[in-house]
């Protein structure tokens, strides 16, 4: 395991991207990878289920509070199976600039040498995909994620967001941005869901990496502040996430 895999998971708010990402992180961490998960959503709850349901202080909160005295341990926390958890955070609701917040959080992580200190094998960026302005596009820029996956369901708004994100990547082919690597269908059990998403994938020019079924175990685990991988490691759903994990790594070129 010498390569560093940098993967961005985008999706519309509420689509289950944080759940998916956290279970991916947990699954891969159990397999022995050193995983870092960075939540890029002003909601700042991406890593909650890796931290026993605890919300960690965000990078922006800490910058606000500690200014130049900020240290790496103020913003990076060790969660389930030593996954390193970071939340970029956001501004006071109603004012400021959330997109710029993500950029500033990323710059701060670099300034504090986070990647050199923790030496992760895999970094997940869990990104809100409703808006793809400059800041929210940051994780797919040169130097950050190499691969982008989009979590979607068959719902219209979710597919719309997926199209937006793929468009953002395509528009800037010359800029050395991340590669679009496929869609993850997080089933909502709506009518013709697979067909709808397949059609969208075809239009965008990508594939569905995996269909993640809907399971009550997810909610049960989250009620305990845990991922399915942590709470019910032997259940069917855990196997689905382990399968998703190996498929993602396969797409990323890991043998």
């Amino acid at each position: 395991m010498t390569d560093l895999y940098k993967i961005a998971i985008y999706g519309k708010g509420g689509i289950g991207k944080s759940t998916t990402t956290s279970n991916l992180s947990a699954a891969l961490a159990l397999q022995g990878y050193r995983v870092m998960q960075i939540g890029c959503d002003p909601k700042a709850d991406s890593t909650k289920n890796l931290m026993k349901g605890r919300r960690i202080p965000t990078v922006l909160d800490q910058i606000r509070e500690k200014g130049n005295g900020l240290k790496l341990e103020d913003i990076a926390f060790s969660g389930f199976s030593n996954v390193i958890c970071v939340e970029s955070g956001g501004p006071t609701p109603g004012i400021g600039c959330a997109g710029r917040g993500i950029i500033t959080a990323f710059n701060k992580l670099e300034e504090l040498n986070a990647y050199e200190v923790y030496r992760p094998d895999i970094v997940f960026y869990d990104v809100l995909g409703d808006v793809v302005c400059g800041g929210f596009a940051m994780p797919i820029r040169g130097g950050y994620a190499d691969r982008v996956f989009i979590v979607t369901s068959g719902e219209m708004m979710s597919l719309y967001a997926a199209c937006n994100i793929s468009q953002a990547i395509k528009n800037f082919g010359n800029r050395g941005y991340a590669e679009f690597s496929g869609m993850i269908l997080n089933s909502r059990n709506i009518e013709n869901e697979l067909e709808l998403v397949q059609k969208a994938a075809q239009e965008i020019g990508t594939d569905i990496v995996k269909v993640v079924p809907r399971s009550p175990d997810v909610q049960r685990a989250e009620n305990d502040g845990k991922t399915v991988i942590e709470a019910f490691p032997d259940c069917e759903m855990a196997k689905e996430y382990l399968d998703l994990a190996s498929k993602v790594m396969e797409v990323c070129g890991h043998e």
Partner: protein, 383 residues
Amino acid sequence: MGKLCVKLPPFSPDYSGVCSAIFDLNCVAVIHDASGCTGNYTGYDEPRWYGSKTAIFCSGLREIDAILGDDEKMIQKVLDATESLNPELIVLIGSPVPMVIGTDMKGIAADIEARTGIPCLGFDTTGTRYYSDGIAEACLALMERFTRMPEQKIPNGVNLLGLTPLDFGSSAASDLKAALAQNSLELISSFCDGLTMEAVQNAAQASLNLVVSQSGLQPARYMEQRFGIPYLVQIPIGRKAQENWLKAVHNCLNEQKSLVPCAAGGETDILVLGDEILCRSVQLGLEADFGLTADCGCLFGTESELPETNILNLEDEQKIEEAITCGKYRRIIGDPMLRMLIHPETEVDFFDLPSYCISSKMSGMSPVSCIGEWFNAFLAEIR
């Protein structure tokens, strides 16, 4: 700079630093702004602007382009200018608005490079940091991109790092270069005063880097890591100090080791205000030539990795004013504009050493050189 600033003008920002560093190169450069940021640079941060043909432009960014993220408009303008002016290098420079909307200056640079085949560098400058950061970033980008691994080093070859008109008046820069020549040191590249693309490419032939301002530190560390070139952090200020500096240069050359000379320190009533390397060098000059100790009042942040004595981080107007008026100091060296902070009842002798990054063309006096024995003349009355 700290928050409320009542008397002093703001100091030069990062985007001016980038421009200052690339000024001598055959480039098309663009500050991505509406007009005021470019006006800061061309009007107040670049003493060489009058009479020059340097192609540094303003992108003419407008609200609707910012809101829509319409980078293509700027890209087209850059392509047009490039076609007309045939530069060797294209440079894109950020400002506060691109910072807020998160314009990807580096990504756009890659795009333009792909379309033109001309090397293009992008800088995420923001207008919230000092010029020294901009100079350092520009030098680093140039070195990373263009400096070649040399076949062999030139034994007495040196580079100057951190030399721009924002810190050094024209006389100081030429005195510094003369000091090298008189002592049989070959100047390979000067970052950035009279810089050429060829000099950038050949910079790693040097056997020693001479860091003369804070903006030269990061590039020096990079060159030490990448090319194994050691560095010496000192401006030769003062007759005796220059002799010591020369010894240090030869030591560093012979032993291929970096050196950051440091004054002995102690109690003092002298305060030097400015760039940390300038302050430290004046401190060394006072010690060597006059047997005096001084405190360094650093206006542009401090370098925590350097060994220190009597270093103060005066990061905003209140702190500078407190230091000047606290009663501890009887003699102060600094830009004449800092005199505005002296209270009527403060008893100090103030020695004017103008810095363009502070007072621009408004210092009311000609540039001063303190290189070598000029310092002794400058401070004739300090005893």
